[in-house]
């Protein structure tokens, strides 16, 4: 009887050779963006090396691209140079690139699945920590540094030691109004931002199975915020249905064989994990982060904690620093926190389902007068087109939200979209680190519906109250 985890199956399949516990792992798909690749291509040139298998790579600029007036090009010369370097590198080495004018351009972790370039059983890497997103398809996907980007380009492999396996089971259905974002934030609140360090996490349980592929991508996306490089979800009917007909999905002649293989990508019944964690789905409430680390999170109907209640002196100091930076007093009800800006976007929450959820809250409402800016940034040009066909853009515009072009945008503010000193943002992104959205900016991570509702009311509100009305 085989007792392999899904992770074991993919790992074993890709192990080219092994020596003293260090494996040479074959990489099926390499996603490339403009920020972490230029030094890698330069390294290849300096060593006189070529790209091992150019057709395994898919490149798209996302971090630096403007989300407004795109026809005018990139105003910042440094950002422009970086995007131009990607164009040149892809041209020189024969790599497929979706450039800024291409409707398929978008955030790399949204584009891969959308194009069917992300498939079950693959090893997928990218010089970006949120590569964990692709694990939603039962692929082993993780972020790497630029030296490893160069290694993959040159050899189609990576040198890795095998991580341990963790399974996080979210039992039962979640309550109405609870989204994938709330589930993953609750998980991070439970295990902490280093809870998954050294592990690959498989998500299981009814609450995970119930999620759409979009929702599963949200959960896997933030696996890195729990410290694990990769998240995994077993293949099922939803996975297969999502892939059917995608541009880079297997061609008809190969489809049946591929599908048979994909359906084997589940952990065996008796598989053993190094660590098991179980959460009760019904207990998860809408989540809002109050601090400067994703683990500093609370349910919307709770209050900002007292630092003195931290588990140890390190946590007490950490919470105190966080509240100081966030400009929040202990015991403040989360729903009393007023916001200045709203950001709906990022590789975590910029898929069509996310935009629909936010539009559902916004419809027929107006942005609170105290909110200076609310931006909706679709995850790709194709998502933008689809949203426009569904009339979502008009719903957002009518409510006073800005409707932008696709990119990473204010998730990290490498382009012109960012927070000013002291500004507070309800954000659907993945990191609330100090300065992440702009020096001195204050980020609260929430689901798309919660961000939209905060924009309408000017402060956080419990989405369950709104949806009941």
């Amino acid at each position: 009887m085989s007792k392999n985890t899904l992770f074991d199956k993919i790992w074993n399949e890709h192990c080219v050779r092994e020596e003293n516990g260090t494996a040479l792992l074959y990489i099926d798909r390499h996603m490339v963006h403009e920020v972490t690749s230029p030094q890698a291509f330069e390294g290849l040139r300096m060593a006189g090396r070529d790209v091992w298998r150019a057709s395994a790579n898919l490149a798209v600029p996302d971090h630096n691209v403007p989300t407004i007036n795109r026809l005018a090009g990139i105003a910042d010369p440094v950002s422009r140079a970086q995007v131009e370097a990607l164009e040149k590198n892809c041209a020189d080495f024969g790599i497929r690139l979706f450039n800024m004018g291409d409707p398929r351009q978008g955030i790399v972790h949204i584009v891969g699945p959308e194009q069917g370039a992300t498939q079950p059983g693959m090893t997928i890497v990218c010089g970006d920590s949120h590569t964990s997103t692709h694990g939603a398809f039962g692929a082993l996907a993780f972020g790497i540094g630029t030296s490893e980007v160069e290694h993959v380009l040159a050899t189609q492999t990576l040198i890795q030691s095998k991580p341990k396996a963790m399974r996080i089971t979210v039992d039962g259905p979640v309550a109405p109004g609870i989204t994938a974002k709330d589930i993953v934030l609750a998980i991070i609140g439970e295990i902490g931002t280093a809870g998954g360090t050294g592990y690959v996490i498989e998500y299981a349980g009814q609450a995970i199975r119930d999620l759409s592929m979009e929702g599963r991508m949200t959960v896997c996306n933030m696996t890195i915020e729990a410290g694990a490089r990769a998240g995994l979800i077993a293949v099922d009917d939803k996975t297969v249905a999502y892939l059917r007909g995608r541009p880079y999905a297997p061609e008809q002649a190969d489809w049946d064989k591929a599908e048979r293989y994909w359906r084997s990508l589940v952990s065996d019944t008796d598989a053993e994990f190094d660590r098991e964690i179980t959460l009760q789905g019904h207990a998860i409430r809408p989540q809002v982060t109050w601090g400067t680390s994703p683990e500093m999170v609370a349910p919307v109907d709770a209050v900002v904690p007292e630092p003195e209640q931290g588990a140890n002196s390190e946590q007490v100091t950490g919470w105190r620093n966080a509240l100081d930076y966030m400009g929040l007093a202990p015991s403040t009800p989360i729903t009393d926190i007023r916001i200045d800006k709203v950001f709906i976007g990022s590789c975590t929450n910029a898929r069509i389902e996310d935009l629909r959820a936010a539009a559902g809250i916004v419809k027929g409402q107006r942005l609170a007068p105290t909110v200076k800016l609310a931006m909706v940034v679709p995850g790709s040009g194709l998502i933008k087109q689809q949203a426009e066909q569904e009339g979502l853009d008009q719903i957002f515009r009518d409510a006073g939200f800005e409707w932008r072009d696709a990119g990473c945008s204010m998730c990290l503010g490498m382009n012109a979209d960012r927070l000013e000193e002291g500004e507070r943002c309800a954000s659907t992104s993945n990191r609330n680190f100090e300065g992440r959205q702009g020096k001195g900016g204050r980020t609260h991570l929430v689901s798309p519906a919660m961000a939209a509702a905060a924009g309408i009311h000017g402060h956080f509100v419990d989405i369950r109250d709104i949806q009941e009305r």
Binding site: G145, E148, E150, A154, A194, G227
Partner: protein, 214 residues
């Protein structure tokens, strides 16, 4: 890559847990397409009072006198002491380039985020893992008027001071060997070209859809 054998240097204590790579090197510097030049921007948001960027003249920047690296005791430090989960967040190797560029050859902490940890070894920077209580002991010593100096011996896997502090650390043998010899990973992997090619051709016949041209 520069090899790491033994290193002696001053310890700069950064008494925070969960220091993320956005803090180590803020995003605006990631627009550079080079591997060098990041050193002055290490911990930029904490280190300076004003906002910086690639288009800002560094000589006009106002240092934050309260930030540890601006303390005269630590200006020439080459070993960074930190708390648990150092380097969490983004995969940006720029974080290690900034540390190395500012003269740091090693970090000592109870734990690291995985991607940052790997990135260190590609750049001749040694991330030493010590126990929580050992790190705390080093913090107590590093705050004295005379800064703490440590010697890290990679071959012996030890961290020691002249006045008798001494701790052993564990390290993966492959990573240790690479760092001791300053080896290039790609060169080592390309010694196995045949094995990779054989694997690839077998896979291509078994699962042809994986080789569909993008």
């Amino acid at each position: 890559m520069e090899a790491f054998t033994t290193h002696s240097g001053t310890v700069a204590p950064l008494d925070r847990a969960n220091v993320d790579t956005d803090a180590i090197i803020p995003k605006q510097y990631l627009k550079s397409i080079r591997r060098t030049g990041f050193g002055p921007h290490l911990f930029d948001d904490w280190r300076y009072l004003d906002a910086g960027g690639l288009d800002v003249d560094q000589s006009t920047r106002r240092e934050n006198p309260d930030f540890m690296l601006n303390d005269p005791r630590y200006r020439n430090a080459s070993i960074l002491l930190a708390r648990r989960n150092f380097g969490c967040g983004s995969s940006r190797e720029h974080a290690v380039w900034a540390l190395a560029g500012d003269g740091f050859r090693a970090v000592i902490a109870p734990s690291y985020a995985d991607i940052f940890f790997n990135n260190c070894f590609k750049n001749g920077v040694l991330p030493v893992v010590l126990k929580e209580e050992e790190v705390s002991a080093l913090f107590e010593n590093a705050g004295a008027d005379t800064p703490l100096r440590l010697t890290i011996d990679l071959a012996a896997q030890s961290v020691s001071s002249e006045d008798g502090l001494s701790f052993a650390f564990e390290i993966d043998p492959y990573l240790k060997d690479n760092l001791l010899k300053g080896l290039d990973d790609i060169g080592r992997t390309l010694e196995h070209v045949r094995v990779i090619q054989e694997y690839e051709s077998r896979r291509r016949s078994e699962k042809p859809w994986l080789f569909r041209t993008l």
